[in-house]
Symmetry: C2
Subunit: 755 residues, 2 copies
C-alpha cells in the first residue's frame, strides 16, 4: 500500500512532486471523456522517468505476436492500445532557456484532480536564472465537445525584473509504445500545416500485415494568447508553434492551447476528416475559454447528480468510490457502441485490447443502474457486432459456433497464452449472462429477441461442440479449461464453466420459444441440434461433494493439500509475486471467485445452505489477487449476513489504485474492477436485487460508517437510496410511481421527491 | 516424406542441386567430430536460400529469454548453440569474377557424403565467361586431430583457353544465429593477423548479463597450394587470404585450406590458447594432405568395425541405420565428459541447449553397447557435475532437492514453457534410471556408490518435496505434471511420473545400503528423511483401471473420448500440424510412449498380461509424433511377438531424416532419436536384455529382410550377433569367455572368432 495523495472527498490532490512516484502520480491523475484521454504526465519538458500516454478510444495497432514457443491456433497479432501522436506537448522557456521540471528548481507545487468538474489543475513556481515565475495550469478533455483537448496557463511574473516567457507548442508524432513487442513506432506523418497561430497534422498508423484497418488522425492546434507568435523550425515528425512575450514584474498573462482531434473512425475518408477537423475547429475557436470550461464542468455535475454515492463518516471510502466512478465515466459513458471498457481505460498501455469479460461480468450491472438502458444495450451490441469474429475464433480451434475473445478490438482473439486464449472459455458464459441480466433488469426482451438470440445461438453451438461425452461416466464433460480462477490451468470440469455452459444452453432453448418464426428460421437451428442441446442440459456432469455439501471447483480439486490462506506466511503474500508459477498452480489457492462467481450470477437459484457451505469452503482458500475478486465476495458475504467480511472485502476494492494495493498502478488504473466497489455497496451492503420484475433492497450500514446514499436508474425511474444506522429509505427522484421491496416488504413510491 | 538422396549402403549421394531443397541437403550432409561440426553448406558463395551453420561442442551463448507472458520461475536466458565464426568460407573467382553457385551455370553436380570415411565430397563444373572449370572438393573435420577442419580442391581447366582462377579464403566473424531472440550477433573480434599464407583470428563471445562464461575462439588458416598468395584487403570482421593463378587448357591444380580451431574450453587463458593454436598449427602444417586424410578415414573405419549394423536384402534400411550411426558418432563419441548429445548435434541451431532427457533415455543404452563403459560414465558424470544447477532449478520452484533441467548447457534450466520447464519433471526419473541402467549393464557399482548416489539423493529429495499428501485419498500424489506424452499438459498423477518417483526413492533407499559410512554421512540424510521416503514408497497413488487391466496415464484420462488414431482422417495427420493446440490437448492422442515408457524401462518387472493389456490399449491411441516414440513401441511389440507391428515401428525411425518424414529436417537432424532405430533392432528384433548379469537375446528377422548383423560391447567383450531366416548366432570377437542366453538357452562363448 502506498498513499501519495491526500484524502479529500472530491479531489485527488498532492503538494509534492516526487520523481520516484511520478508514474504513479500520472496514472492517478488520468482524465478522459470516453473518446480520448491521457495520463497525468506534464505538457512541459520533464527529463526524469515518466510514462507519456495519450489514447484515443478504438484506435489501435496490430503488433506482431511475441511468444517463446508457438502453439497452433495462436493469433498472428496482439491488438495494442497505441500511444497517440503527442498533441499536448508544450516546452516552456524563461529568458530563452528551456524549462525542465525535473531539473529546474520548482516550488509551491500542487497537483489537483477535481473529480466534480473533471479538470486537472497544476500550479508551481519555477525559479530559474534568478527569476520566479508562477504557473497555474488547467487541463481537460471536454465531455461537451469530445474532440476538444484544452490546456490553459496562467503565468505570473513574481520576479523583481521583467522576464521573457516562451511557449513552444507542438504536435509530435515521434512517439513510442513502451510495450511494443518489437520496439517499432506505429505512426507516420501524412501531412502538416504550419500556420503561425496553430499548426495541424494528419498522421496515420503504419501499414500492417494483418488486414486490420489503419487509422488516420487529424489534429489542429488553436492557441489563444496575447503572446506573439514567432516562426518555428520545421521538423519531420512535428508541427511547432512558438509564442513569446515579456512580462513586467507582477504582470500576468494567459496562454491557452486547444487541440481538436478527429479520427478516421468518424469520417469516411481523409478529405471528409479534414473537413470535419476544420468545421469543429471553427466552432471551437468561436467560443471563449470560460464557456468551453463551463460546458464541460456542467456535464460532469449532471453525471454526479445521477450517480453520486455519498458516504458519511469515512472520507477515505468516500474518495475511493468517487475516484472509481470518475474514472469509469471518463473511460466509458456509453455514447459509442463501437467502444467498450478497456482494462486500463485511457490510463496506460498494459494488457492491450479494448474489452475483456470484465465488461459483461462487472461493467454491465454497473451501467444498468447508472445509465440509460441504451448504454448497456450499446455494450451488448458491441459483442453482437463482433459475432463474426467469435465464429472465427471458434474455427481457429476447430470448433463450431462462436467463441468470444479474451482480448480484442475487433472480435478476433489477440491474446496468446494457450491456457487463457484457448481454455478460459467460461468468458462465453458471461456474454450470454449479460443478455439475461439486461433483460431481467430492464424488463424489455426486444434486444434478446432481435440480436441477443443470435449471440446465444452462436455460444450454444460452441458449447455443444466443446463438450464431449464420457462413455465411462455417461455424462457430458468439458475438459481442458481455465476457470475464473487463473491459478489453476487446463483443468477438467471446472464447475463454473460447466454450469455456465449448461445454463446458456437452457436459456437459449427457452429464449428461442420467444422469438418469431422468421428469426427462428434465419438462425437455422435443426431439430437434431435442439435435441443435442437438451441432452447436454440433461446429462451435464458437475463435480460435487455431498459430505461437504459443495460444488467442487474441478475434477481433482479436493485431492489438493487444502490448507487455508491464513496458513501462508505473510511475507509470501501476494503469492503471485513470491511463488513460482508451478507452486501456485499446485496450491489450492484461488485467485478470484470461481464457484462463487456462478452462485453470485444466479444468487436466487441457490439455497441459503448451498451459498453458505460454498462460501465457507472457498473463501478461506481465496487470495483475492485479482482486482475482480473482492466485490463478488462482499456481495455474497452481505447476502449471508457476514457483515464484517463484507466490509473487509469492500475495503479491498474501494481504494485499490488510490492506495496502490497491488503495487502496479504505475502501469495505469484497474478500470474494469472499479465497478466492484459500487457493486459491493449497492448489491452488497444495500442488497439490491431484481426478482420477478421487482427491485428490492435489504440494506445494512457498515459499523464504521454513519450513512451512505446512492442513486439507481430502474425502468425509467431515478431512485435515491439512503441508509444510516437507524434504517433505510428509498426515494423516487424522477419517473412514474413504482412499488419496490425494502427488507422484504413492498414499498410504494408514488411521487417524486426533490433530490 | 521426401527422399532427395539416392539409396546406397554407404553413401548419402545426390546428383542434383535443387535450390528449394538446399537446406534439407545441407542438414543431411552435415559432418562432425564430436568437437566441432557443420552443416553441408558450401564454402563458396551461394546467393540463394541457405542455412550456414558451424558449431563447436560446448560453445554457447545465453540469449535473452523471449516470452509473450512471463511466469514466475522462468529462467532469465535461453542457452543457444551458436553459429561459430565462419572459418570455412571461400569465394572462388574465374577470370576475376566471383563465382555464385546459385546464379552461375553449374553442371555435372555431385554431392556425396561417404559415411565409411566421414568425408564429404562435392564436384561440379562451372560454366562462366565461356570457360569450363571442374571442381572436386573434399571436406572433413578430423576425428584424428579434433581441431582440424580440412577442405581440399582439385581444379581442372576444361576450357580451350587459359583461365585465371582465384581463391578468396576467409575467417569471417560477421555471422548471425537465425534463431537469435533479438537479432543480435554473438561474436566480436578480439584480434587478427594477416600473414599472406594464412591469416588467423581470435574472437570472443560478447559480454552477457547472466554471469555465464564467455568463450574465446582461436582460428588459424593454413593454405597449401601452388597458386600465388596476394595481398588481401583488411576488413573489420574478417581475415582474408587471396590466392590466384592461371591454368592452361587441361591443366589441373589443387588448393587446400586447413583451419585449426581452438577454444577457451581447453585453455586456461588467451595466451595459452594462442600458444596451443600455434603448436597445433605447426604439427598440422608438417603433415601431408594424404596423411591427414588417411588418419581420419582409418579412425572411422575402426568405429565401423566395432559398431556396424549390416542388413541384408533392404538397402534403404541399411542406409538408414548407417546414417543414424554415422551422425550419432559425429555428434558424440564420448571423448569429453563436458559434452553431451545435443538434440540437433552439429546440424542445426534449433532447440538450443546441449542436452535433453533423451540422452539418458535413449542415448545411454546405445553407448553402453557400442562404446567403452567410460563413454557412458562420461555421460552420467555430465549430470553429476551439474548437480548444483539441478539444486538451483528446484529452488527456483520453491522445492528441495535436485531437478535436472529440460534444456541446458551448464545444469541451469533455460527452457521457458511452464508446462514443460516446471512440469515435465519425469526427466528426473531418467537421470536416476541411467545410473541403474549403467550399473546393470556393466556390473560395476563403483560409479553408483561414489557419484551416482549424490545424484540419486538429490532427485529423491526433490520427489519427496514435490509429492503432496491427499487427505481425502490418504495417499501421496503428484499434481501438475506433463508426462512424456507432451500432448497432455498439467495433468495430475501421470502414472509414469509417479512410477519413476517411487522407483527412484526405492532405488535410492536400496543404494544407500551399499555406500560406505563416510559417504552416507556426507550426504547428510536424516532418519526422518529416510522414513518419509519409505512412507512415500509405501503410499504412492497410481491411477489404474481393473476392468481394463491397465495403468491409467493420469487421473481423468479415461474420461476422454477414447477413439483410436485410426479414426482420425488421414488429411488431419500429423495432428500437430493440423489441429489447434487446444484440440490436441483435449484429445486422447498420445505423442510418444508414456505408460509404455515405464514398462519399457522395467520390462522384466511386468507380467506378459500387463504388458499386453497396456500395449493393446495405448498403442492404438498413439500418434508417434515424437521421433522418440516408435523405438519403444518396436521393442515392446517385439517382446509381445507382434512382429509386424515391431517392423512398422522400426520403419518409422530408421529413415526419419533421410526421408524427411516429419517435414522439418531442414532445421537439422533428429540426432538423439537416431538411437531409436538401433534400439529397435538390438533390443527389439534381437531381444537383447541384461538379466541377473547375463546378456540374453531372443531374435527374429523381419520377413522383408534376409539377415542382419550387429556388434555389441558387453563387459570387456565384443560380440557379433547374426540373425537370418534360419536362426541366429552370437560370436565372441574379442575378450574373455562368456556365457550368454540365446532364445532362453545358455550358450557358452569360449574363444574369440575372427570378425
Amino acid at each position: 500500500m502506498k498513499r501519495i495523495f491526500e484524502v479529500d472527498p472530491w479531489h485527488v490532490i498532492s503538494h509534492e512532486l516526487v520523481p520516484t512516484d511520478k508514474r504513479l502520480q500520472e496514472s492517478m491523475t488520468s482524465i478522459g471523456n470516453g473518446y480520448m484521454g491521457m495520463r497525468g504526465m506534464f505538457e512541459e519538458h520533464y527529463s526524469n522517468d515518466t510514462l507519456k500516454g495519450i489514447y484515443l478510444g478504438g484506435v489501435w495497432y496490430p503488433d506482431k505476436t511475441r511468444v517463446g514457443w508457438w502453439k497452433n491456433g495462436y493469433p498472428a497479432y496482439f491488438g495494442k492500445v497505441i500511444n497517440a501522436v503527442n498533441f499536448i506537448k508544450i516546452n516552456l522557456t524563461i529568458d530563452g532557456d528551456q524549462v525542465d521540471l525535473a531539473k529546474d528548481e520548482i516550488s509551491d507545487f500542487t497537483l489537483d484532480l477535481d473529480m466534480h468538474t473533471g479538470i486537472l489543475h497544476r500550479s508551481f513556481i519555477v525559479n530559474k536564472n534568478g527569476k520566479r515565475i508562477q504557473f497555474d495550469i488547467d487541463r481537460f478533455v471536454s465531455v461537451a465537445q469530445k474532440e476538444l483537448f484544452d490546456v490553459h496557463y496562467n503565468v505570473h511574473n513574481l520576479s523583481e525584473e521583467p522576464v521573457q516567457i516562451g511557449f513552444i507548442s507542438q504536435i509530435d508524432a515521434d512517439v513510442f509504445n513502451e510495450d511494443a513487442n518489437y520496439d517499432e513506432q506505429f505512426w507516420q506523418v501524412l501531412d502538416k500545416s504550419h500556420a503561425v497561430t496553430g499548426g495541424s497534422m494528419i498522421a496515420e498508423t503504419k501499414p500492417n500485415d494483418f488486414g486490420t484497418p489503419r487509422f488516420t488522425l487529424g489534429m489542429q492546434m488553436l492557441h489563444k494568447t496575447e503572446l506573439q507568435g514567432a516562426n518555428a523550425p520545421e521538423t519531420e515528425k512535428a508541427v511547432t508553434n512558438i509564442f513569446r512575450g515579456t512580462l513586467a514584474p507582477d504582470e500576468t498573462t494567459t496562454f491557452e492551447k486547444r487541440v481538436i482531434v478527429v479520427t478516421s473512425r468518424d469520417y469516411e475518408d481523409v478529405p471528409a476528416l479534414r473537413n470535419g477537423l476544420a468545421q469543429i475547429s471553427e466552432q471551437v475557436t468561436a467560443q471563449s475559454y470560460a464557456d468551453l470550461r463551463q460546458a464541460h464542468a456542467d456535464l460532469w455535475a449532471k453525471r454526479w447528480e445521477l450517480a453520486d454515492v455519498a458516504i458519511g463518516g469515512d472520507d477515505a471510502a468516500q474518495q475511493g468510490i468517487r475516484f472509481n466512478l470518475f474514472q469509469l465515466f471518463s473511460t466509458y459513458y456509453g455514447e459509442d457502441s463501437r467502444l467498450n471498457l478497456g482494462p486500463k481505460g485511457f490510463t496506460g498501455e498494459k494488457y492491450g485490447g479494448a474489452t475483456y469479460w470484465d465488461t459483461e461480468a462487472f461493467g454491465v450491472p454497473f451501467y444498468l443502474s447508472l445509465a440509460k438502458p441504451k448504454v448497456t444495450e450499446n455494450l451488448l451490441e458491441y459483442r453482437y457486432n463482433q459475432l463474426d469474429g467469435a465464429y472465427h475464433n471458434a474455427q481457429m480451434q476447430g470448433l463450431d459456433g462462436a467463441l468470444f475473445p479474451m482480448v480484442t478490438f475487433n472480435g478476433i482473439e489477440c491474446h496468446n497464452e494457450w491456457e487463457i486464449t484457448f481454455e478460459e472459455i467460461h468468458r462465453n458464459g458471461s456474454m450470454a449472462y449479460a443478455i439475461f441480466n439486461y433483460t431481467r433488469y430492464t424488463g424489455d426482451d426486444t434486444y434478446l429477441k432481435t440480436k441477443g438470440i443470435d449471440v446465444l445461438t452462436g455460444i450454444s453451438r460452441f458449447w455443444a461442440d466443446r463438450v464431449h461425452f464420457s462413455e465411462r461416466k455417461q455424462q457430458y464433460m468439458i475438459h481442458g479449461v481455465t476457470g475464473p480462477n487463473e491459478y489453476e490451468n487446463n483443468v477438467n470440469n471446472n464447475w463454473y464453466t460447466n454450469f455456465m455452459a449448461r445454463w446458456t444452453l437452457e436459456y437459449t432453448l427457452a429464449s428461442l420459444k420467444l422469438v418469431d418464426a422468421d428469426k427462428r428460421e434465419a438462425l437455422g437451428i435443426s431439430a437434431a441440434e435442439l435435441a443435442k442441446w437438451q441432452d447436454i442440459v440433461d446429462r451435464m456432469y458437475f463435480p460435487h461433494d455431498d459430505d461437504l455439501g459443495i460444488f467442487v471447483q474441478n475434477d481433482t480439486y479436493l485431492d489438493k493439500d487444502l490448507k487455508p490462506v491464513s496458513s501462508i506466511p505473510v511475507d509470501q503474500r501476494p503469492i503471485n509475486q513470491n511463488w513460482s508459477w508451478d507452486k501456485i498452480l499446485r496450491s489450492p489457492y484461488i485467485k478470484q471467485a470461481d464457484v462463487l462467481q456462478g452462485i453470485y450470477y444466479f444468487m436466487d437459484d441457490f439455497t441459503h445452505d448451498q451459498k453458505k457451505a460454498n462460501f465457507d469452503f472457498y473463501e478461506p482458500l481465496t487470495v483475492h489477487e485479482s482486482s475482480l475478486s473482492p466485490a463478488v465476495h462482499a456481495i455474497l458475504a452481505a447476502d449471508l449476513h457476514y457483515e464484517d467480511k463484507a466490509v473487509e472485502m469492500y475495503a479491498r476494492t474501494a481504494r485499490l489504485d488510490l492506495d496502490n494495493y497491488n503495487n502496479d498502478t504505475v502501469d495505469g488504473l484497474h478500470i474494469t474492477s472499479m465497478t466492484g466497489s459500487w457493486l459491493a455497496i449497492v448489491q452488497g451492503f444495500a442488497g439490491m436485487r431484481v426478482r420477478d420484475d421487482t427491485l428490492s433492497f435489504a440494506p445494512f450500514v457498515p459499523k464504521q460508517w454513519e450513512h451512505y446514499q446512492f442513486h439507481v436508474n430502474f425502468r425509467g425511474r431515478l431512485l435515491k437510496v439512503t441508509v444510516d444506522q437507524q434504517g433505510s429509505t428509498v426515494d423516487l427522484i424522477s419517473g412514474k410511481p413504482l412499488t419496490i421491496e425494502l427488507n422484504g416488504q413492498p414499498v410504494a413510491l408514488t411521487s417524486p421527491v426533490t433530490a
